[in-house]
Every structure is written in C-alpha cells, then in structure tokens.
C-alpha cells in the first residue's frame, strides 16, 4: 500500500511541481520600496530629529529634571525621579532605529552614489544624535551598531571614543558639504533647502558644542576645549537666520512636538521654578515662551510635589515652541553665540565675553519678536547684560538656558557648570526613595538590558557620565 502511495505521490508531485515554482513566487512586497532615493529618506529623518531627538520623551524628562516642566498629577512620578528601565525604551528606539539607522543607510547610499551633500548631511545629523545619546547614556553602541542580525549584541563604545567619533564625523561632513558633488538636496531638505553653507555652519557649531562639553572631562582642560571651540565658531552660526529647525504647518498630522508634549491630555505644565525665574527677571520674552493660565490670566507654574490642582490654572509652552505651527528647533544659533561667550570668558575673561554675551541675548530677543529697543528689553539688558568676574559663568548659563529653552543642552550645561541653580526635589515632595540629588544621566533601556546585556547597564540616574567629573 505504502509503496503504491509513494509511487503515485512522486509521479503526482513531479508533474505539478514545475508549474508550482512560479505560482509560489509572489513574495515581493507590493506596498513598499526596496530602495529609496536619498531625497525620500532625508525628509522623514529630519522630522525625526525634531520630533524624537529634540522633542521626544528624553527631552521631556530632561525638562522635568531641570524643573522647567512638571505634570499636573500626584507625585511620586517621573518628574520626581521615579523611572524604570522600560521608560527609556522608546527614546532609545527612536535614537537608534528611527534616526541613526536611517542616517547610517543614507550615508552609505549617498557615499556609494557619490552624492556628497547627502553623505555630509547624514554625518552631521549622526554626530548630533550620537552626541545627544551619549550625554544621556554615557557609553553607547556605535562602531558595532546597525548591523541587524549580523551583530545582535553590539558592544558599547566608551563615551570618550564617541566624542572622538563625533569630531571625525563632523570634519568629514564639512568636507563633503563643501565639495557638494552629485545630486543636490532641495525641497526635501526641510532644514536648509539645500543651502550647503548653512549645513557647514551647523557642523561647525556642533563641533564647538561637543568641544565645550569636555570642559571638565578628565584629561581635557577647559582652556584647550574653549580654544578649539572658538576656532570652530569662526565658521559657525552667527544669527537666527542660521537656525536649524523643522517647519510645521500646524495641521493635526504636522504639529510641532512641544505642542503635543503640552497637549492638555498629557497634563504637562510649566514648573514654578522656571516661570518664577522669568517673572523675577521681568523677562520680556515670557509672553512667547509661556501662555497665560486660562483660568487666571496669570503666568503660573506648578510647585513640583505640591500635588495636583486645576490644570487651567497653569501656564504651558507659548507660541515660540508650543503652537501647533511652531518650529521644531534642532539647533539654535543662540547656542552657538552663548558657546562663544562661554569660551571667550574661559579663554579671555569676562570683559571680552560681555559684548558677545549681550549679542547672544539680543539675537534671541529678535528671533522671538521682542523689540530690543523697547523699555522692557532695555531694562532687561541693563539688569542682566553685564558680566563680572564672579557672576559671568552663572549669567551666561542662565541666559543660555532661556535662549535655548527646552533643549536637552540645558541639562548638559547644568551638569558641566551647576547653573542654573537648582534644588533637588525633597522626599516630602515625592522624590523617589533613595534619590537625594538631581539625576545626572538616564538608565539604559530595558530593551537593551534584555537583548544586549552589557556591564555598564547597571548605572543609576545619579551616576555620572565620563565627562561629568566632580
């Protein structure tokens, strides 16, 4: 019986198989592209930089811990340092999968196709994202990353080597955007519409940023880093016309990240620390930085740990960042100007730094639509515009944090310089058990600790990254 079956079976099978090969050959995906041009990849990646790297949960958390933002909810919460590894899955995923991997492929493809502008842009944005990531997490994967299943457990590069990589990437990027061979970006480049000069300025500004991050790193000196920064700043952004941002039209499918971050269902509001300091200095920019509370018509921030009150009694992000059609800022020219002020101060002292510092403040005011000749602006500049030997660093950092508002750079600057002055949330106000100082880094995400275990992943939020020496 079985024999007959086998014979019949084999006959049957052979007859049918030839026809079946073709019948089964239908597994090519009709819904997507197997290869995408550089222009198709660049646009969503730029938006990803704005939404995720600059406006994602990582940025929200940095602003909670810098006491700019809080939630109108009971404590303890992530505002008061209650976080678990899983909270960092989404930011890490957005950095590595959404942004870096696409930049990695964009760079590879553009290099192969000899489209140097795209290759340069990919490297600049890679450097930016890597820099943001390493400042949050310290040691991170890079040299073995983006290999898919070829390397399922990429080892972690030390933060110091990431910093070296960033400068190398930026140097080759500058060469590439200057060379500008092959296909030129145009309307697909939402940041600069293909203006390679601006990309070059952006790259130099980044070089300065990452030089200055190492002012207190062991083996580096503030003076030398400042000198390097000043050299780079010679070719960097000089006014807000150089700003790098993603423009949002403000429809529900194209709204600015901070609009969503402060959307009422999130219950996110400004913290009193931030609003009170703006008010105390009578900052004329407050009207665009913050909204008046719906119920009271006042600028009010919530005292972190005070529990929750009436959501409409508090201010949220104003038109500069928080409208649906606000720009999604990636790099403010103000930052380059304040970096110059800081580097100048560190190299040449406060007198030399003062005009640069004042220029930085006015540049920001002008960008935010504040008339710098107005009484309020003049009063502000009078009160805040002069540096002294003792207050220079503090003022530069305070003003930088206003001008660079909502940027994660403010957390880096606080870790580097201790400014603006902040007090840790007390346990009475809901601080997580055992946390008695303001966090200085993120936890590694659960996804990495389970899929790619590394010894460095035991770090806690009060540990310090490499450059953050005491």
């Amino acid at each position: 019986m079985r024999k007959i079956a086998d014979i019949l079976f084999i006959l049957f099978a052979t007859a049918m198989l030839t026809g079946c090969k073709k019948y089964l050959d239908v597994n090519s995906n009709p819904n997507s592209l197997s290869v995408a041009s550089e222009a198709l990849i660049l646009s969503p990646v730029e938006e990803g930089m704005s939404s995720y790297v600059c406006g994602g949960y990582n940025a929200i958390l940095a602003n909670y811990w810098m006491q700019n933002m809080t939630l109108n909810q009971a404590v303890p919460s992530d505002v008061t340092y209650v976080v678990s590894n899983s909270a960092f899955d989404q930011p890490w995923y957005n950095f590595y999968v959404t942004c870096l991997n696409n930049l990695y492929l964009l760079n590879q493809q553009a290099t192969t196709n000899n489209n140097s502008s795209y290759a340069g842009i990919a490297k600049i944005l890679t450097a930016y994202t890597l820099g943001s990531a390493t400042d949050l997490w310290g040691d991170i994967p890079y040299s073995q990353a983006f290999q898919g299943v070829k390397k399922t457990t990429p080892s972690y590069d030390s933060q110091e080597s990431i910093y070296t990589t960033i400068q190398v990437l930026l140097d080759s990027a500058i060469a590439e955007v200057t060379r500008a061979t092959g296909t030129a970006p145009g309307s697909d480049d939402f940041f600069y519409t293909g203006d390679m000069t601006k990309w070059s300025k952006f790259a130099y500004s980044l070089k300065a940023r990452y030089y200055m991050h190492l002012t207190k790193a062991s083996g580096y000196t503030a003076a030398a880093q400042s000198q390097l920064a000043l050299t780079a700043l010679g070719n960097a952004m000089t006014s807000y016309a150089d700003d790098c941002y993603f423009p949002y039209t403000g429809t529900t499918t194209a709204s600015a990240p901070w609009y969503w971050n402060f959307f009422n269902t999130s219950t996110a509001i400004f913290a009193s620390t931030y609003i009170d300091s703006l008010k105390a200095r009578s900052d004329p920019r407050i009207s665009v930085l913050a909204t008046l509370a719906t119920n009271t018509g006042l600028y009010t921030g919530s005292v972190i740990g005070s529990g929750f009150g009436n959501l409409n009694d508090y201010s949220v992000a104003g038109s500069a960042y928080g409208n649906a059609n606000s720009n999604g800022y990636v790099f403010n020219s103000d930052e380059a100007l304040f970096l110059k002020a800081e580097a100048t101060y560190r190299v040449s002292g406060y007198v030399a730094a003062t005009p640069i510092y004042r220029n930085a403040i006015t540049n920001n005011m002008l960008k935010l639509g504040v008339d710098t000749t107005s009484t309020a602006a003049q009063a502000y500049l009078t009160a805040r515009g002069s540096l002294t030997a003792t207050n220079a660093l503090q003022l530069i950092m305070e003003e930088k944090s206003v001008a660079n508002f909502l940027s994660m750079e403010n957390w880096v600057d606080w870790r580097r310089t201790g400014y603006p002055n902040l007090t840790v949330i007390s346990s009475a106000n809901g601080a997580a058990s055992g946390i008695t100082e303001i966090p200085r880094r993120f936890l590694y995400p659960l996804n990495e600790t389970t899929s790619n275990p590394q010894s460095v992943q035991s770090a806690t939020i009060t540990d310090r990254v490499w450059w953050d020496t005491k």
Binding site: A5, L8, L33, S51, K151, W260, N447, N452
Partner: protein, 1014 residues
C-alpha cells in the same frame, strides 16, 4: 457523495417520510412497542417495513403503529442499538427488544478533508459537538457555544460587547508571535477567522467565524492532534475545527419548515467599587463644578452637605448600563426527492448591548443543494451569505472609551448633562471626555458582507474508487469607520478613520480514494492535491479637522492621509493517506504531505512531513462476559511530524516604508508633507533564509465504553515539541538598527492530558440523567526564544525561556530576603524593581454538563472552570489611585506592617490611606490578580409538546426553551473586576492576553426560544 449511513441524517429522512406518506396508505395497522434489554421504552426508534420506503418513529413510550401488508418483515433501528429485523404475520402486537450496540460502532464522523470514518476506527483524538449542544448555548458566536466543552480546547473571549472576539486554541500555543488559532473548515473548505474591526483607539474586534449562523451547523468535529490534522498541512498544525452544515433529506417529499424565535435580556455584571466616599482629596470635598479633581478621596457622602443641601448620590455604572436585548429568528426549509435535496436557512440576529450605543446585527442566508447528476456523479453546491453590522465603543484605556470615566467617576457628581452652557464638555475633572458626550459623539461601525461558496463534485465510477473535486472560496468586504466629533479632548477638531478591507481566499482540493478488501484486511488509499491562496487589500484613510460638527464623511476633514496595503500568500500541497484495518482489530494509518509555501525563502519553499498511527481495539479480544462490562476499548498511539509556515507574507525582505500613521508608529507627521514624500527603512528586519517550523507530536490515547455503554471514557496524553519556530517580530536590541526581525528559532514544548467522561447514571422510562465531564491540563513551556535572547515581549506580555506563555512583567513590592514588605521613610511600600508576575495561561480547565429528561421536559446545566493564571487588572491601577477601588473603603491611617528600609526595624510610621493606595497603585504587583473562575455558564429548561397533542395541528414538533447564561460566577478572592473571563480587552491576539482594562462587562442573560417544525 454524502453517504446516507449517517444515522442522524437517516433518522431525519425517515421522520420526514413518515410525515408525508404515513397517512397515505391504508393497509392494516401493525402495532408494537420497542424497548431496550432493561425494558425501558426506546422513543425515537425507527420502524420500517422491509422493501418499503415508509417508516415510523416510536413514540415516547416506545410504541409504534405502521401501515403494513398482512405479512412481511420489519426493520427496527435506533441510535446506539444494534438494528434488528423481525418478521410478522397478521396483526398481533409486537414487543421488540433491542440490545444496545456499540454507539461507537455505528457513529460516523467527518475527518480531515471531509473523509467520513467510523469513530471506532479513528487513530487520533477528536471530539464532536452536535447541533443541539451548540444551539442550547444560545450564543451568536459558535466558538462561545463550545466554551469549556471540549477537552484540550481553550476558548478565549474578550469583552462583553456584542460581537466581541473569541479565539480557539487547541492544545495550547504553537507559535510565539504567529497565529495560534485552530484552522476552521466549513464543509471541506478553509474559512478565515481573523479578528477584525477593533475599536478606533483600542478594544476587541470580532473574530470572523461569528459570521456563521450556528443554526445551520449539523456538527462540529474538533481534530486535536497533529496525527489528525497532518493532511491539512501547515494550516492544520494548530488543530482543526471541521464544521459540517445541515442538508436536506433524500426522498423527504414535502418540505420540513423549521421556525425558531428567541428573545433574551442581558444585564451587565458590574465590578465592585466603593460607594461611600465622595469626590475630593485628603478627605476634603470637591464638587467637580467650582473645582475639579479626578480623585474620590473626599469625605463620606452619607453625611455630606454643600451649602446646607445634601449632596446627592449617583450610581454611575447602574445609570450608564442598560438592559441589552437579543432577538434571534431563524427559518429553514429542508426537503428532497430521489435524486436531489435542498436546505435553505435564513436568520436574523439582532442584539443591543448593555452599553447604550453598542449593537450587532446579522442577516445570514444559507443554501445547500445536492443532486445526483448521473448514477456515478453527484454535485453539491452551497452558498453562505452574511451581512453583519456592528456598532461598538472604543475599549481599553484610550481616552475615547466612555467606560473609563463611568468606572472611575465620583459618586457625588452628576455626569449629566454633558455640555456646559457654552457648548464645551462638562466633567468633574480635566483632560477626559464625558462618557455621555462620547456616546453621542464618538463611534465605530463595521459592515461586513461575506460569501462562502462551495462546489463539491463527487465521482464514484466503481465501488472501490471515488474522486472528489472541491472548490471553495471565502470572500468578504469589511468596512470600518470611526468618528470623533469636534470637541473631543484628544482630537479637539475631530477625527475620522476609515478602513476598507477586501479579503479573498480560494481553495481547491482534488482527492482520489480507493478502497479494497483482501481477506481480513480492509485498506484504503487516498491521494490529493491542494492549491490555496489568500489575498488582503486594505485602504486606510485618516482625516482630521472636521468642516462641521457631526458631519462624518471624509469630505468633512481638512487634512486627509491615505494609505493602502495589499498582500498575497499562496500554498500548494500534495498529500496521501493509507489506512489498513485488520479484522476491525488493528488499524494502521499513514499519511504524508508535501507543501510549498510562498512566504518562506525560495530555496526553502517546499517541505515534506507525515504521520503514523496505530489503533488497537482490544475489546475485540475480550471474552464475551468481560465484553458485557467493557463494551468497547481502544488504545491508540500516534506520531506526527508536521511542517508549518506560520508567518505573514514579505517577511523575507526589509523594505523602505512610507512614513505615515499606519506604517510608522506614533509619527508626528504624515508624508507626503508639503509636497515631499518620505520613506524610512522598515524597523522589522527581513530574513531571506526563512524555512518551515517543525512540530513533532507523540500521542497515546484510550477510548472505552463500559457497562452497557452507560459510561464512556476517553483519555489522551500528548507531548508536542515545536522547533525552528518562526518568530515574527522578535525584539532585537535597538542598537542593531532594527526593532524586530523574523527568525526560525523558537522551541516550545507542550505536554497535555485530556479526559472526557460521559455517563448515564439513570435511564428509566420517563427519566434520564446524562453527565459529561471534561478536563484539560496543558503544560506549555517556552524552551527557546532566539539565540542570545531569553525573552521577547509580545504585545502586553512576554515569552520567556523556561516559563509558560504569556508572562506578565512589571514592578514588584520591595521586600526583604524573607519576603516581608520593605517600607520607605513615609511608611509606604515602594518599587522593588521589575520581575515576572505570572502567566496569562491557565493551569487547567474543565466543564461539567448535566442533562435531565423527564417526559417532555429537559433540563441541562453546565458549569465550567478555569484554574490558575493571572490577569493584569489595569482598572485596579486607576481605581486605587483615584480612590474608587472597593479596597479603598478602609480609609483609616495605617501603620503598614513591614520592615523600614532605613532602620531595618519593624515599621512604626503611619501613613494615610490615600497616600498608601496612591503609592501602591504604581506597583504593578498590586494589580495582578488571579484569573480563575467557576461559572454556571448555561442553564436550559425545555418543554416539547407531546407528539400526540400535535396530531391535529400543522406542527410536527413544538418546543419552548428557557435559557439562563452566566448566572453565577465564582471569582478568586483577589479579583476586583466583573468577570475574570473577559480579561482580553484588546482582543484575542497573542499579545493582548491577560489585559483587563475598561472593557464592556459581560452579562447575565435570561431568555426564551420557541421552535416550531411544520
């Protein structure tokens, strides 16, 4: 092609013969009585004059009367008894005794590919559920009708919303991420049972088997082991549910018309909550009007006055839910002549849910026509057409779920009216929608049109050869719309979402079968070929910014994004099965199949597999006296190795996908944007080397009938190992650049025991009692996830090496090494880190059905149970935080017993109840609850009008049945929700198991059905 040896069908035909021709002839009346060996009458026995077509059926007392010639022979048959022929001469009354035969001898069941086999000869495990059993459950979804009834089968239901999804998993899971549900085969043709149309922002959908009207089903046979299903190839690796529909009877002459009408009322089973404390915080009242808060940590309401007026009490849940009404009407016509027969059925099912806007409607038309074209060629064509419409709410913790605010609203706040004078929403808190506003302004509708045509051509040129060609299709369009009106809290300008799905599945089988007899050997050989294809086309459109409130056409949207997706999958298979039966004592069955699948790597597209099984009917060897006790006994052993391609299409490549809301999760922006298109690399890494997974199953089983067939016992033990399991969406470290990939890596082992006991403790003239008990214990362990990866998250749960499936992960209380609670300086528990908190998979399940018959009355009640496993009660997280949980009724300050983390001594610090529960709410462990239950799922009381009373009426049969469902639930003491069974708020997909969160509660139902046969 359908052999009329199917005893039930035979009975049916004869019954019809009686009704049409019984009165026509005017010979003399032969009278008599049929009893069994114990003297009990055998109502329903069939009596036929040999050589004539006419037959009658014995009445309730076993007596009969048949028109007969003066002498001849009558044939008597009854299900479960050996047939008998008795000769007669003249009019003397006959007393005929039938000895009970082997039920299993005569029982014929439908097996893989529609091949009918004697149950006694089966070499694998299967369990049949018959029409009466299905109809008695009064469930619109046939899967819910078999919940708890079939050993080895787990039916997972989602929520209490009308039409909400159920899943059928046979012998535990076989795949970590792929389809785990049994293959559904309707009259030989595979039928899609996807879950479609979940709520717009969350909630369960419908499993599409729900499109079938249960009243057209004659029987369902559940094939459990790989040996039973190997012929179905890859698709059958997860078990098969064979649905056989009803047919018309041959030579039935005048048509039989059956009318059935049922009405039932459903009341929601509400979860407990505290009804003592008003809105507020720290004991201070907040009225929700002049000030707002989301919590109910206010003062006692019974003594609460505001401005001298007593604050009224509102029972939010009672006010919100209403009584659901279910109406089910069916009419069917069956009949036939010598060469053809037909069955036509139409039913209309209409249900309004306990949530005011929830509705389910189903028009279902079924026609079947069978004709003998020539002596050797017969044709059966059938068509099922269903139109289903459903209105549903969003469920789960999305903000457009009205239940969210109903469950956690303070008892001191009147939720009505839902609008303020200025047209904005009125609510006791910020950032949520008013539930009554949601009812009027947020909605989901689903419309399904479904066609299931089947053509079956059977050619029997000789007695030993038969050839069957079977063509079938399953085609449906599914239109889903979600609208959110202007003024919603998350979508202030409104939102529209629309999905058009077009599903097509085609199936062809060509089967040749030869049979032969050589001495004591009976043999059969079957060869066949299968060609199958499945197509999905989806269109998604999302619109926002409505032009006008309440205008829900896509034209209303100021921004529209659109995307489409289509996929195709094909398979071919060649199969063969040989069966040899020696002297009805020993049966050997061998089957083999060679499959080709389009979804695997081209080089691995084809894969062979097969099964071998032996059945040994040891009762054949027993001495007669022992055979009186052991009427039937069979041991069976089988081994099968089955290949499977359980992965979706296009998993072999990594494409660039357009950035939009359907392709890329949580994107802020939709491309094309400002005239520019945008693509990014898919986060799911393709794998060009995918091959089939392999399932190996060893099974041993025992089937016996004891003590005059009064006791039946079936037991199976199986050990199933899945290797090279396809894992789609296995998590990669994000630093690899990708979120997930698909690999052949999983290993899963399931060992299981299934027991089925049927007994008839009492059988007398007027009274009988039947009991059916089933028990299932499955032990499923995930042995391997992926190289270098010991766990992967699947939706809300995790697959973890060495653990059962569906592990729930979250934070635990900090504890000392001895297990005492560690408390912080405020005297409150704190988060002790994350760990696995239990599995959503039960330890064991079982059910008991009792059926009593007394004269014309029937009473049955059915208990079933699930023991073990946990659920994640997300409601409890909110309830604890908001002060709504029943637990929070105790509000005194407390010194939590435990160890102070800072001093190491017993805690002496007092904390308030509010601070305590709000702290605890953040610890996942506080909301992990036991999912065990015992349910009185169904009680049914029926009365059939005595046949003798119907003689002068046009009716042949009239029955009234009262049904109660879900009358009693025993829950675990730590379960704080309404029904632990409805613990899959997000539907029945792999990753949604065990999540209980703001779902529609299940209902207690009382109803009545009247059935009339003309």
């Amino acid at each position: 092609m359908r052999k009329k040896s199917f005893s039930r069908l035979f009975l049916f035909c004869l019954f019809i013969c009686l009704s049409t021709w019984g009165h026509a002839q005017s010979l003399f009346k032969l009278k008599g009585k049929i009893t069994d060996t114990s003297g009990m009458p055998l109502p329903g026995a069939t009596i036929q004059i040999k050589g004539k077509k006419a037959a009658v059926i014995a009445g309730g007392d076993g007596s009969f009367s048949i028109s007969a010639p003066s002498q001849g022979t009558i044939k008597i048959s009854a299900v479960g008894y050996d047939p008998k022929e008795v000769s007669f001469n003249g009019g003397a009354e006959l007393n005929i005794t039938l000895s009970s035969g082997n039920k299993s001898l005569s029982e014929v069941v439908v097996t893989a590919l529609g091949v009918k086999k004697e149950k006694r000869n089966l070499t694998f495990s299967s369990q049949e559920v018959k029409s009466e059993e299905i109809l008695r459950a009064q469930e619109p979804n046939v899967l819910n009708a078999i919940t708890g009834k079939v050993a080895g089968v787990q039916i997972t239901s989602s929520t209490g919303a009308p039409g909400s999804s159920s899943a059928i998993i046979i012998r535990g899971i076989t795949s970590l991420t792929g389809d785990n549900e049994a293959l559904i085969v309707l009259d030989g043709v595979p039928m899609n049972n996807d879950e479609t149309d979940g709520g717009g922002n969350g909630g369960s959908g419908s499993n599409r088997l729900a499109d079938i009207d249960p009243s057209i089903i004659e029987s369902m046979n559940i094939l459990k082991g790989a040996a039973a299903t190997a012929l179905y190839g890859s698709a059958g690796a997860r078990g098969v549910v064979l649905i056989t529909t009803k047919s018309g009877g041959k030579n039935s002459g005048k048509p039989t018309i059956t009318l059935s009408s049922g009405l039932s009322f459903e009341t929601a089973i509400l979860a407990p909550r505290q009804y003592t404390y008003a809105q507020g915080s720290k004991g201070v009242y907040v009225d929700g009007v002049t000030a707002k808060t989301s919590t109910s940590w206010g003062p006692r309401i019974d003594t609460l006055y505001q401005n001298g007026v007593k604050v009224p009490f509102y029972n939010q849940m009672k006010e919100f839910f209403k009584t659901g009404v279910t109406n089910n009407n069916t009419i069917s016509v069956a009949g036939g002549g010598p060469t053809s027969n037909y069955f036509v059925s139409y039913s209309y099912f209409d249900q309004t849910g306990t949530v005011p806007t929830a509705k389910l409607g189903r028009h279902s038309l079924f026609t079947k026509f069978n004709t003998q074209i020539t002596d050797k060629l017969s044709l059966t064509t059938e068509l099922t057409y269903t139109y289903s419409s459903k209105n549903l709410i969003n469920e789960g913790y999305g903000l457009q779920n009205p239940l969210n605010t109903v469950y956690i609203a303070p008892i001191s706040y009147n939720l009505k009216p839902y609008l303020n004078a200025d047209g904005s929403q009125r609510l006791y808190r910020y950032s949520r929608d008013n539930p009554y506003w949601v009812l009027d302004n947020v909605g989901n509708t689903s419309l399904v049109n479904r066609f299931l045509p089947v053509v079956n051509l059977a050619y029997n040129p000789t007695s030993w050869l038969s050839v069957t060609e079977r063509l079938g299709a399953d085609i449906y369009t599914d239109k889903f719309n979600n609208h959110v009106n202007i003024g919603d809290i998350s979508y202030p300008t409104g939102r529209l979402y629309s999905v058009d799905e077009n599903f097509r599945q085609f199936n062809h089988d060509l089967i040749a079968q030869i049979k032969g007899k050589y001495g004591k050997f009976n043999g059969s050989l079957l060869v066949g070929n299968n060609v199958w294809s499945k197509h999905y086309d989806y269109m998604y459109a999302t619109g926002s910014g409505l032009a006008k409130a309440g205008y829900y056409n896509m034209a209303s949207a100021s921004t529209v994004s659109y995307s489409e997706n289509s996929s195709m999958q094909r398979k071919v298979g060649f199969y063969s099965q040989a069966e040899i039966d020696y002297d009805r004592l020993l049966i050997l069955s061998l089957s083999g199949r060679y499959d080709g699948s389009s979804v695997l790597a081209t080089s691995n597209a084809y894969y062979p597999y097969g099964s071998a099984a032996i059945g040994f009917i040891f009762s054949e060897l027993l001495k007669d006296r022992l055979k009186q006790i052991i009427n039937f006994g069979k041991l069976r052993v089988s081994y099968a190795s089955v290949g499977n391609d359980n992965v979706g299409p296009y998993a072999t490549t990594t494409p660039y996908v357009q950035v939009n809301s359907t392709n890329v999760y949580a994107t802020n922006i939709t491309f094309p944007y400002s005239g520019q298109n945008g693509f990014v690399i898919s986060s799911a890494l393709g794998n060009a080397t995918l091959k089939n997974e392999l399932q190996k199953e060893f099974e041993i089983g025992l089937e016996t009938k004891l003590l005059d067939n009064r006791i039946g016992f079936e037991a199976s033990y199986f050990d199933r190992r899945m290797s090279d399991g396809l894992v789609q969406g296995v998590a990669l470290a994000s630093s690899t650049g990708y979120g997930t990939t698909t690999i052949n890596s999983a290993r899963i082992r399931t060992k299981g025991v299934e027991l089925l006991l049927t007994a008839t403790p009492v059988r007398t003239k007027n009274f009988s009692w039947d009991v059916t008990i089933n028990y299932t214990k499955l032990n499923t362990k995930v042995l391997k996830v992926a190289p270098g990866l010991t766990q992967t998250n699947i939706g809300f749960t995790y697959a973890v090496e060495g653990k059962p499936y569906g592990m729930i992960y979250g934070s635990k209380y900090a504890r000392t090494a001895k297990g005492e609670l560690l408390l912080d300086d405020n005297g409150r528990p704190y988060n002790g880190g994350n760990d696995f908190l239990g599995t959503a998979t039960p330890d064991w399940t079982g059910g008991i059905t009792n059926q009593f018959h007394y004269k014309q009355f029937g009473l049955s009640f059915f208990f079933d149970t699930r023991q073990g496993g946990v659920l994640d009660n997300v409601d409890e997280y909110y309830n604890l935080f908001y002060g709504v949980s029943k637990t929070t009724e105790s509000r005194a300050d407390r010194i939590v017993s435990g160890i102070s983390a800072s001093t190491g001594l017993a805690n002496k610090i007092s904390t308030t109840a509010q601070a305590y529960y709000q702290t605890v709410s953040y610890i996942t462990e506080a909301q992990i609850q036991d999912a065990s239950y015992i349910k009185l799922r169904n009680v049914s009381l029926s009365y059939s009008v005595k046949k003798s009373l119907l003689v002068s009426t046009p009716f042949k049969d009239a029955t009234i049945t009262f049904t109660g469902r879900n009358l009693w639930i025993h829950k675990a003491s730590n379960f704080t929700g309404s029904d632990p069974e409805s613990n899959n708020t997000y539907g029945t997909s792999n990753g949604s198991l065990g999540v209980y969160t703001f779902g529609t509660p299940t209902s207690r139902s009382l109803g009545c059905t009247v059935k009339l046969v003309f």
